[in-house]
Point group: C2
Chain length 266, copies 2
Amino acid sequence: MADKGPFLTSCIIFYLSIGAAIFQILEEPNWMNAKDQYILEKEIVLKKYTCLTKEGLDDILKIVSEAAGQGVTITGDKHRNSWDWGNSVIFAATIVTTIGYGNVAPKTIGGRVFCILYGLCGIPLCLVWISELGSFFGDRAKRLSQVLIRKGVSVKKVQLTCTALFLLWGLFLHLLIPPFVFMSLEGWSYLEGIYFSFITLTTVGFGDYVAGVNPNIEYPRLYRVFAELWIYMGLAWLSLFFSWNVHMVVAAHKVLKKRRHRHRHD
Amino acid sequence: MADKGPFLTSCIIFYLSIGAAIFQILEEPNWMNAKDQYILEKEIVLKKYTCLTKEGLDDILKIVSEAAGQGVTITGDKHRNSWDWGNSVIFAATIVTTIGYGNVAPKTIGGRVFCILYGLCGIPLCLVWISELGSFFGDRAKRLSQVLIRKGVSVKKVQLTCTALFLLWGLFLHLLIPPFVFMSLEGWSYLEGIYFSFITLTTVGFGDYVAGVNPNIEYPRLYRVFAELWIYMGLAWLSLFFSWNVHMVVAAHKVLKKRRHRHRHD
Ligand SMILES: [K+]
Ligand SMILES: [K+]
């Protein structure tokens, strides 16, 4: 095992270097444009409102920046309370799942200390729960296959059916269908919906897209509850997928070992 | 195993509900204050700059909000290029480690599509690499213990020393010392430094604190490189800690089983 280390380290260095170059090519021009645009628009604002000096505008921007840092919506007059109990549950969930969107984060000393203590116990608890949820679904799949085998379906067909059902479930429920929901409720494009699903279920959680937090949208009542359940189901699916993958690799390894053993004794 | 499911589910529901209530108590008043303050300050701005109408201010705020959404620094005249190659490497690292601070995120369609493909291969690669790095350090610890045992130190003493060294390494290198570095270079408080370390190494990554991105600070040359290496070392330490914990639990379980077996046969 230890001799894989240098190879893997080279792999990761190479992967980061190449990836960075591609991200730079794709994103840098867009950022440059946005920056130049912003500088230009600030100048236009100063010309339009003659009573506003450069220092005055900077003061306004500081006020805005500070409010944004405290989690206050800076445009419009609608302020979504991110710390009522319902939203706090969802915030707590972003800690224990380690998604951490960061659109909401504790700002007080007490909140931060509690956040550390909360994650210390909550992250392992959530990990165990998610893997348990994954094995629950795995058990259901096993029972289904046993019922089918008893009914006289061949083992190979049953295995194929279960694997196909499992992959289709993940593909449709966690990648292809949710973007349609987000398109109709959040007004995102299909790609934005897929991007949000991917960034959420891998627990990267950039927080540039978060479902159910736009203060200008009236969401259906149970939308955020379903969104939460969808996240847990997705994480359980991934946990099952990985344990099932590891299982497959181990099984394949055993078969290979047996074959080698037989060859030696022939 | 399956009967643990309902218990764990109750645990997580209880844990989220209680945690949410505590977060609400700690954070809601602060958010309310910040919101009221912001509304008041907007009114003061409108009174101070008489040429500025409410609509005019809203327009300015929209410009600011849009620029912030594109990753442009909104206050001051210094603009840190988040998409040069060096910063893109660090961005790529936030994907594969699933930390995902989100202070930098792709905004173009190409960038987002590539981000999904990049994470798809990169996250498993990084997971494998980190666990390999962890077992590398674990092997070093094993060798150290073998050397000590050969020198005539008792096995119990060696085990105690190695465990103590391992825990002290994690405690000092990843929790107690880094905040001092962040205090002197980032101007954060000690608690903010611990909060940043915890949120980073658990891969939650809210992004409210990110090391090395303040455009108004001149950082030492290799600071961000060391910060990156520190993150990987921390993740490897955690990986080792968990595999070592699992190992301990399994070993304890085996001892218990053997004892029960003996009792039965007595
Ligand atoms: K994260
Ligand atoms: K995050």
